[in-house]
Every structure is written in C-alpha cells, then in structure tokens.
Symmetry: C2
Subunit: 235 residues, 2 copies
C-alpha cells in the first residue's frame, strides 16, 4: 500500500501531521505525494520562487537561509525530520528564503493545492499544522532573544546543546557524542559569527574540558552542565 511507504514514514518524532489523518484521507493524500531525495547541497526552494511546495521531511537536515545585500548567507532556521515545509493558503507570495539540504534528505512532497484541500477536509490536521506553526514561531522568537545579546561562546554552546537534543544524543546529563551536521562556515552563518570565531570558541570549550573534538565533525559533550552554563553567557 502506497502510504505505508510514504506517509507512515512522515510520522517521525511523533509530531507529524499525518498522524491526525484518518486512513482514508491518508491514502488519498499519499496518492498525490511524491517521494523525493535531495543530495547534500541541493535546493528545494529558492528565494523569489512564486510556487512554494509543501513537504514533510523524513530524513536528513535542511537549512532555511537568505542572502543579505552584501552577499553573505545567513541561516535563519534548520528543518529536522518531521518538520513541515511550505505555506498553504498564503496565496501567490514570493518565497523569502532558500531551503537547501545540508545532508542527504528524503521527503514527501505534495502540490500546495492538494495539501490545501486535505487540510480543508481534515480540520484536525489543520489544527495540528497551526499549532505547530505557532510553536515554530515561538522558537524563532526565542532564537531572536538569544542572538540579540549572547556572546560568541554562548551561541556556539547553545547550538551544541540544541543539536544534541534534536539529534537525540544523550539525555543532556551524561556524556554524549554527536556528529555535527554543519561545517564551521555553516555554523557561522547560523550563529551570526565568522568561521574563525566559531573555531576559537570550539577550541576554548575543548581546552576547558567541556567538549572533546576527536576529529571530523564529531563532538563529545564531556560536561553537559558546563556546556549549558556556557550557553547562558551574555554580553
């Protein structure tokens, strides 16, 4: 059955929208869904596009980014498995950001009109999407609050904490190892810093014994408490 391959897999992290769908509609939705794989670096949406697809991310990590007038790229958000991409009902608005795969990605894509019809027919699904969008808005605002006054060290430490949480590594209290999905440059774009500053802060945390850097993009969180404390360092 098709949706066994597609939408059931969307139900990642228990937050997926399809969980709100009765099976009949799930089947109807799956009939319109396209499975898509994106290679690392591939672009799903480009800023300025007039058509914004709707999709559920199944595996992998994507970045939402914009390019400022000086040509620098700024990453304004990350999308993890289970997250929703798209803006149904928004009308023919111009996409404001690029959405690009940071790792190999698999997703479940639908035409916006189909998604809109399914949402209209399934209030529970629309409620879930609305609630999730509000939660995402609150998260974006929280990030705004921390970016506003946090030091470089706090930004880097905060990013490590959040990445450890979202990639499900450890419980935040014991030693855990994560593979960073971002390069130093991408971390810099995300945190509003430069590559060099990110690198220096990582080295500082390593010197202090808070993290270990065994090589590659692997990070061992040796002292989660100290890391969490560093994340609250303010100007």
């Amino acid at each position: 059955m098709v949706f066994e391959q597609s939408c059931r897999q969307c139900a990642v992290r228990g937050t997926a929208l399809c969980a709100a769908l009765p099976d009949a509609d799930l089947l109807g939705l799956a009939g319109h869904g396209t499975h898509r794989r994106l290679a690392r670096g591939e672009t799903l949406v480009r800023a300025g596009d007039m058509a914004m697809p709707c999709a559920n991310i199944q595996r992998g990590l994507m970045k939402i980014c914009q390019t400022n007038p000086a040509g620098q790229e700024v990453i304004v958000g990350l999308l993890w498995p289970g997250d929703f991409v798209g803006a149904p009902f928004l009308g023919p608005a111009e996409a404001g950001h690029d959405i690009v795969a940071l790792t190999p990605v698999t997703l479940c894509q639908f035409p916006a009109r189909v998604m809109e019809r399914v949402l209209t027919d399934n209030p529970a699904m629309e409620h879930a999407l609305l609630a999730r969008t509000m939660a995402e808005l609150a998260r974006a605002r929280a990030r705004l609050g921390s970016l506003a006054r946090a030091t470089a060290l706090a930004r880097v430490a905060g990013f490590l904490v959040e990445t450890a949480q979202r990639s499900g590594a450890g419980d935040g209290e014991t030693i855990a190892a994560i593979d960073l999905p971002l390069s130093r440059g991408e971390m810099a774009d995300l945190l509003g810093l430069t590559i060099e500053t990110v690198s220096r802060q990582m080295s500082k945390l390593k010197q202090a014994g808070v993290i270990g850097l065994p090589g590659g993009r692997r990070v061992v969180i040796q002292d989660p408490d100290a890391l969490a404390e560093a994340a609250e360092d303010l100007i």
Copy 2:
C-alpha cells in the same frame, strides 16, 4: 448590535481575521468577546502562564518580550493593530513570553475554546490565521537574518524604516514624521543594543541630515533613500 462595536473594529489594516467570517458567526463570536483596555505598561500575558488568551489588537502597540538569565529584557517582536495574539490548538503549553502594552491598547479578547470552535466552524478563518502565522514566522526569520550581522546603525535605521511603514506615515519616498512608540531603552532591547549606542546612532543620522529630531519622541525622516541605504549597512 454588539459586533458593530467589537469585531468590525478588529478589521484593521484589511488583514483582520474576522473579515473571513460570515455575519452570523461574527455575531456569535462577538457574543463571547470581551472588550479590554490596557494602560501603557500593563501586561496581557506573562511568561509561564498556562492559559494563553486569544485577542485581536484594535488600537495601540504591544511588545513580546522575554527576560534572559542575566535579567535583561529582550523584545522579540511587536504587535500592531490588526495583529492576533494567542495560540489556539496548541494545548496547555506554557507561554514563553510576556506580552505588554507599549501604548494604551484596546483589544477584543476571546476565550481560547471559543476561538477554537469558531475556527473549526469557519475553515476560511482558520486558513487566514494559518497564512498569517506563516507570514509572521517569515518575518521573524527575516529579523533573525538582519540581527545576525547588521551593524548598530543598520539596526536603528531599519527600525525607523519599519516603524514608518507600519504606522502608515508617508510612502517611503517623501519626508515623513513619526512618533516613536518606544523609548531609547525599549529600542535597545528590541535591537540588541544599549541605550547609549541607540542614542549615538540616532545622533549620527541627525548629523548626516538623514533624520530630524525636533524633540520628544518625534522623528522626521528627511532622506528616506539614505535611511533605507543605512539600513543595509553590514558588518
């Protein structure tokens, strides 16, 4: 008729949600609505509250703010007339921010359950709210992008441009005068700067003849083009 006094007034700036309601439901909603006035500085929602009211702002300006671990206040967003407050369908989640009146405010408040029922009964209204929330998310992300790398001058200039737009003063091309709704301290909290730096940048714009500061909180935008250019100044 009740709703003539309440919800018709919500239809500010042509974006209000009630515009999507048929008259019969509008009447029903108005029956549950409470008109409320807030004095300057009064708090509508406090971070940590378990109940998040739903409301439409009719007149005035509110701030969404959080207090960081060091006790500093950070303003993560502003709410203008016509904006919606609340998070229907999100369940009993803790409010993450304070929402405080910056000026005298009048708003139209509803119990979350009533709002949820009206949204369920009126898909068009829920679509409108979803679209608006997505647009607000895009705006928050855009702010993230500019806060990440903009200089102090660009932050201040950008704030002036946006305030002029949202308060409907001028067309962005000719000389316009606005009354700032925020103190220097509040601007600093919003832009992630200090009071002194905000003041210095305002003085710099004045010296350059870009703006005039006739006194009080009044700002005359004498050279909108130069102001817009200053807003794009990056580190």
